[in-house]
C-alpha cells in the first residue's frame, strides 16, 4: 500500500536524521538529548480443544493449535519533535474475530508531532477525542482489538493561554488498511476561573464538530440496497453527515458538574431490530434507516475526604456514528458512548455486562462512597438502563464494605443484577436474568514482601417460568494468590457451575452437567519485564471494555505473555 510505504520511508528518514543530529552535536542541555522509550507486549496461546465447554470448531482448536499477538511501541523525543511508532504482529490470532484466525503484521501506529510556538502539528495515526467522545473518539482497545486511529493531520493552536482550537482531517484505520470515508473535525476549549470572594468557580466549556463524507463505493452499495426497499421505505441518503457537541465542566469547591449535548444531522444507520413487512411476512432484522441523532449526558459529583457522591444520566437517540453505514457491531465507530454502569472487578460480578446502546437508551447511575471511620469504608452503587418505559433492560445494586488494618485488607459485599439477556445477546425466548452475587476478599501481608489474597464468590440465579435456572445457573468461584516476593507470584482459581442452567454446556446425552473452569497463573517479574504462564479454562461470556462489548466464546488452553517497558 502506498500509504504504508510512505510511512515506512518517513520513519527511516526521521530516525536516521534524529540519530545523525544527536551524534553530530555535542550539547550538554538535557532537552537537546534524544530520549527513546517504549513498551513490548506479547501473548501466545496454545489452544487445547474442549468441545464440552464449547472450545472447539474454530481453526485454532481444530488444526492451527497456536496463535499469538505482539505489539512493540517506541517513542522518541528530540528538540520538540516527538515520534511514536508501533509494530503489530498477529499470527493465527483469535482477537479480531473470536471464531476465526487472523494473521498479519505491519506498522500499527505511526505519529510525528512537533510544536512550533503556539502551534502543534501532528501527522500519522492520531488518537484523540472531543469532549467525552460522543461525536468523536479515536482510540485503541487491545482486549477487543479495536484500533480506531485517525490516519491524517491534526493542528492545534493555542490562541490564548486559556483557549485552544484544533482541527483535523483523515481516514479511519482498519487493521493495516484505511476506510475510504473522509473525516474532518474541529474542536475548541476554553478555561476560566472566577473568584467569588475567597472561593473560586472554574468553567471549562468546549465545543466540537465532526463531518464525515461517504466514499462512492459505499454510497453505491447503499443505494443498490435501498433500491430493493418498498417505495415508502426508500430515503435519499446523504454523502455528508455532521455531528456537533457542546460540553462544559463547572467546578465549585468539592462540587463538579460535567454536561454534554450532541446532535447529528440526518445519517444512515442499520437498525438491527427493525420490523419490516415483506410479502406478507414480518421480518425482524437489519434495515437501513435515516434520522437525526441526539445524546445528552451529564454527571454531577461531590467529593470530600469523608464522602463521595456521583450522579450520572444519559439519553441516547439514533446516535450510531460510523465511518460508513455498512459497518456493524464494534467496527468503524467514529464516536464513543460512555456506559453508565459500574466497572466491576470480581469475577462473578462481571459475568453480565450491558453494552451501551446507540439507537435508544435512557441510563443512569448513582454512586456513594462513605468513609465510616479510619479503617472502614462503604460503597453503594446503583445503575440502570432502559430502552422504553415498559421493560427494564438492566439494573444493578452493589454494596461493598472494605476494612483496612495494619496487615489485613478485607472486602465484603453483594451485587444484585437484572439483565435482559434476550435483548443484549439477541437470544429469543431467553428469560431475564436476575442474580444475587455475594463476594468476599481478604489480603494478608505476611511481611518481607510476602502476601496472600483469597477471594470467595457465589452467584445465585433466578428460575424461568419453566422452573429451569436461567442462563448457566448457579456459580461458585474461589481464588488464592500468593506473592512470594516482588518477583514471583502464583495464583489458582476455579469457577464452578455447580447448578447448571438452561444454556449450560450439555454432554452427549443432552444433559447439562456441573463443570469446573480452573485457572493457574504464574508470574515472574525481574525488573521491567513481567512474564506470565497460565493454564486457562474460561466460560463463554460477554466481554465489555468501557461499554463496548462482544460475545467471547469459551477458551481452553495455555497462555504465555510478556510485558516489558524500557
Amino acid at each position: 500500500m502506498p500509504f504504508l510505504k510512505l510511512r515506512f520511508t518517513l520513519v527511516i528518514w526521521i530516525f536516521s536524521h534524529l540519530f545523525v543530529s544527536v551524534y553530530g552535536q555535542n550539547t550538554s542541555d538535557s532537552e537537546e538529548k534524544l530520549t527513546i522509550f517504549g513498551q513490548f507486549q506479547t501473548r501466545a496461546n496454545f489452544f487445547l480443544r474442549d468441545s464440552l465447554i464449547g472450545a472447539a470448531n474454530i481453526p485454532q482448536y481444530d488444526y492451527q493449535l497456536f496463535g499469538s499477538e505482539s505489539w512493540l511501541n517506541l517513542q522518541a523525543d528530540y528538540q520538540g519533535f516527538s515520534l511514536s511508532l508501533r509494530f503489530d504482529f498477529f499470527n493465527n490470532s483469535n482477537l479480531l474475530i473470536p471464531t476465526n484466525s487472523y494473521s498479519d503484521q505491519g506498522i500499527g501506529n505511526f505519529l510525528i508531532e512537533k510544536s512550533l510556538d503556539k502551534l502543534t502539528l501532528s501527522a500519522g495515526y492520531i488518537y484523540d477525542q472531543i469532549g467525552s467522545g460522543l461525536i468523536f473518539r479515536s482510540f485503541e482497545e487491545r482486549s477487543l482489538l479495536i484500533d480506531n486511529a485517525l490516519a491524517g493531520i491534526k493542528l492545534k493552536y493555542q490562541l490564548l493561554p486559556d483557549l485552544f482550537i484544533k482541527a483535523f482531517a483523515g481516514r479511519q484505520k482498519k487493521q493495516f488498511e484505511l476506510y475510504p470515508a473522509i473525516i474532518r473535525g474541529f474542536q475548541s476549549e476554553y478555561f476560566r476561573s472566577i473568584s467569588l470572594g475567597r472561593k473560586k468557580v472554574t468553567l471549562a466549556p468546549g465545543t466540537g464538530i465532526v463531518a464525515r463524507t461517504i466514499d462512492d463505493a459505499s454510497m453505491n452499495n447503499l443505494v443498490s440496497t435501498l433500491q430493493t426497499y418498498p417505495t415508502e421505505e426508500i430515503f435519499i441518503p446523504k454523502y455528508n453527515t455532521y455531528a456537533a457537541t457542546f460540553y462544559q465542566t463547572l467546578q465549585y469547591e468539592s462540587l463538579r458538574w460535567y454536561s454534554e449535548a450532541a446532535i447529528k444531522s440526518k445519517d444512515t444507520y442499520i437498525d438491527p431490530f427493525a420490523i419490516t413487512l415483506s410479502k406478507g411476512d414480518t421480518i425482524v432484522g437489519n434495515r437501513y434507516k435515516q434520522d437525526f441523532g441526539i445524546v445528552i449526558y451529564s454527571t454531577l459529583s461531590y467529593s470530600t475526604e469523608a464522602i463521595g457522591i456521583t450522579l450520572e444520566g444519559k439519553r441516547t437517540k439514533n446516535f450510531s456514528f460510523k465511518t460508513r453505514p455498512q459497518e456493524q457491531l464494534n467496527r468503524g465507530n467514529l464516536n464513543f458512548l460512555p456506559p453508565l454502569t459500574r466497572i466491576n472487578s470480581f469475577r462473578l460480578t462481571t459475568r453480565y455486562n450491558p453494552a451501551a446502546q446507540e439507537l435508544e437508551e435512557w441510563s443512569w447511575q448513582g454512586d456513594l462512597q462513605l468513609r465510616l471511620n479510619e479503617d472502614l469504608s462503604l460503597n453503594l452503587n446503583h445503575s440502570g438502563m432502559q430502552k422504553s418505559a415498559e421493560e427494564p433492560l438492566y439494573r444493578e445494586w452493589f454494596l461493598e464494605l472494605t476494612k483496612q488494618s495494619e496487615n489485613q485488607h478485607w472486602t465484603v459485599g453483594v451485587q444484585n443484577q437484572l439483565y435482559n439477556q434476550q435483548f443484549y445477546e439477541f437470544k429469543p425466548g431467553a428469560p431475564t436474568v436476575k442474580t444475587v452475587a455475594p463476594f468476599g476478599e481478604i489480603e494478608m501481608d505476611a511481611g518481607k514482601g510476602k502476601s496472600l489474597r483469597i477471594e470467595a464468590q457465589a452467584l445465585f440465579m433466578n428460575k424461568g417460568k419453566d422452573l429451569l435456572l436461567n442462563d448457566y445457573g448457579h456459580w461458585m468461584f474461589g481464588l488464592a494468590e500468593y506473592v512470594l516476593n516482588p518477583k514471583w507470584k502464583f495464583s489458582v482459581s476455579d469457577m464452578f457451575n455447580w447448578k447448571p442452567g438452561r444454556f449450560s454446556p450439555k454432554n452427549i446425552q443432552d444433559k447439562a452437567i456441573p463443570l469446573h473452569f480452573p485457572r493457574f497463573d504464574l508470574y515472574y517479574q525481574p525488573g521491567n519485564n513481567l512474564f506470565s504462564l497460565s493454564y486457562i479454562k474460561q466460560v463463554e461470556g460477554v466481554i465489555c471494555t468501557g461499554g463496548i462489548c462482544r460475545l467471547e466464546p469459551a477458551f481452553s488452553g495455555i497462555r504465555l505473555s510478556l510485558n516489558s517497558s524500557f
Binding site: 471464531t99 474541529f186 443498490s224 440496497t225 433500491q227 444531522s265 410479502k279 437501513y288 429469543p428
Partner: protein
C-alpha cells in the same frame, strides 16, 4: 473580551457548516429483470451461511427472496448450515450440517457473526472478508449482475422413482476460444420447502419453511480441478446417488458451480441449477 481569537474560532466553525447542501441522489426502486438470460452473461451465486439456531437468518432469507424476485433465474442461492448456530434442536427433523459445509466456510473465512453470505465468493474492494452482512448483499449483487462468462454448463438429470436413484451428467465447455486456468467444479444438491424448526426473533418456530438447503455434495466443496476445457468438446462428469427416502424429490435441485482458485481468489465464474425432475 478577546475579539480576534473568537472571530477566528467562529470563522473555522462556520467552514464546517458551509457547503452543507449537497445535490440529492435520485433513487428509484429496482425493477425485475427479464427472465431470459443474455448470452455469455453469468449467473450469480449467493451462498448464505447460517443454521437453525441463527436468529437473524430468517431476515436474511427474506432478503434473498426479495433478490430472487428481482433477478429470477440469474440468481442461484444455496443455504449452507454450518458454524455454532447450525447445531440442531432435538425437535429438528434433520441435521443439515455436513462436513463439506464446514470445509467450505473454513476455506472462505469464518465470519464475525451470522447471517452472512458470499456473492460469487468474491472479495470486493474495500472489504476485508468475503462474508457479507445482509445489508451489503443487494449492493454487491448489483455490481456483479452483468458479469460475462465464457463457460457453458449443462446438467442432464435422470431420476428413477422405483429405486429412488438420481443419475446425472454435467457437460462443461467454453463458449469461445480462450484460456481459463485454475478452474474447479463443485456439484451439490439442495432441497426447498422443508418445514422444520428454526429460531426466529419471536422464538423457536416449528413450521418454518427452509429453502435452498444444501443436502449433499457430489464433489468436495472446494471443487475438483478442471483440465482440458475447450470450445470444441464437452467435458463430461457423471454421478449416481441413492436419495434418502425422507427427501422430497419434487423439491430437489442440482447445482453446478465453477470457480477460479488462485492464492486468495475463489471467484465464481458460472453457476447453474436444474431440478431433478
Amino acid at each position: 473580551m478577546y475579539p480576534k481569537p473568537f472571530i477566528l474560532f467562529f470563522l473555522i466553525f462556520s467552514l464546517f457548516l458551509t457547503s452543507c447542501r449537497e445535490i440529492p441522489l435520485i433513487i428509484t426502486p429496482i425493477e425485475a429483470i427479464s427472465s431470459e438470460n443474455e448470452l455469455e452473461t453469468a449467473n450469480i451465486l449467493i451462498e448464505e451461511f447460517g443454521g437453525v439456531r441463527c436468529v437473524g437468518c430468517p431476515a436474511g432469507h427474506s432478503l434473498i427472496k426479495e433478490m430472487k424476485s428481482i433477478y429470477k433465474e440469474k440468481l442461484v442461492v444455496i443455504s449452507v448450515h454450518t458454524g455454532s448456530f447450525s447445531f440442531p434442536y432435538s425437535e429438528n427433523k434433520f441435521d443439515y450440517r455436513l462436513p463439506e459445509n464446514d470445509q467450505l466456510i473454513n476455506e472462505l473465512g469464518k465470519p464475525i457473526g451470522y447471517p452472512v453470505a458470499t456473492i460469487n465468493r468474491k472479495l470486493f474492494d474495500g472489504e476485508s472478508s468475503r462474508m457479507l452482512s445482509p445489508t451489503q448483499w443487494p449492493g454487491y449483487l448489483a455490481k456483479v449482475i452483468s458479469q460475462k462468462t465464457a463457460l457453458k454448463i449443462e446438467i442432464n438429470p435422470s431420476y428413477n422413482a422405483g429405486l429412488n436413484n438420481l443419475t446425472f451428467t454435467t457437460n462443461i465447455k467454453l463458449t469461445r476460444d480462450t484460456i481459463l486456468p485454475n478452474l474447479y467444479l463443485s456439484l451439490l444438491l439442495v432441497e426447498d420447502n422443508i418445514t422444520d424448526y428454526q429460531l426466529t426473533p419471536t422464538g423457536k418456530q416449528p413450521d418454518y419453511v427452509h429453502q435452498n438447503v444444501v443436502r449433499h455434495w457430489f464433489t468436495p466443496s472446494s471443487g475438483i480441478f478442471l483440465s482440458k476445457l475447450s470450445s470444441k468438446e464437452n467435458l463430461p462428469f457423471s454421478y449416481n446417488f441413492i436419495l434418502p427416502s425422507l427427501w422430497n424429490t419434487n423439491n430437489l435441485r442440482i447445482i453446478a458451480i465453477i470457480q477460479k482458485k488462485e492464492s486468495n481468489t475463489f471467484d465464481v465464474l458460472q453457476v447453474i441449477e436444474k431440478k431433478i425432475k
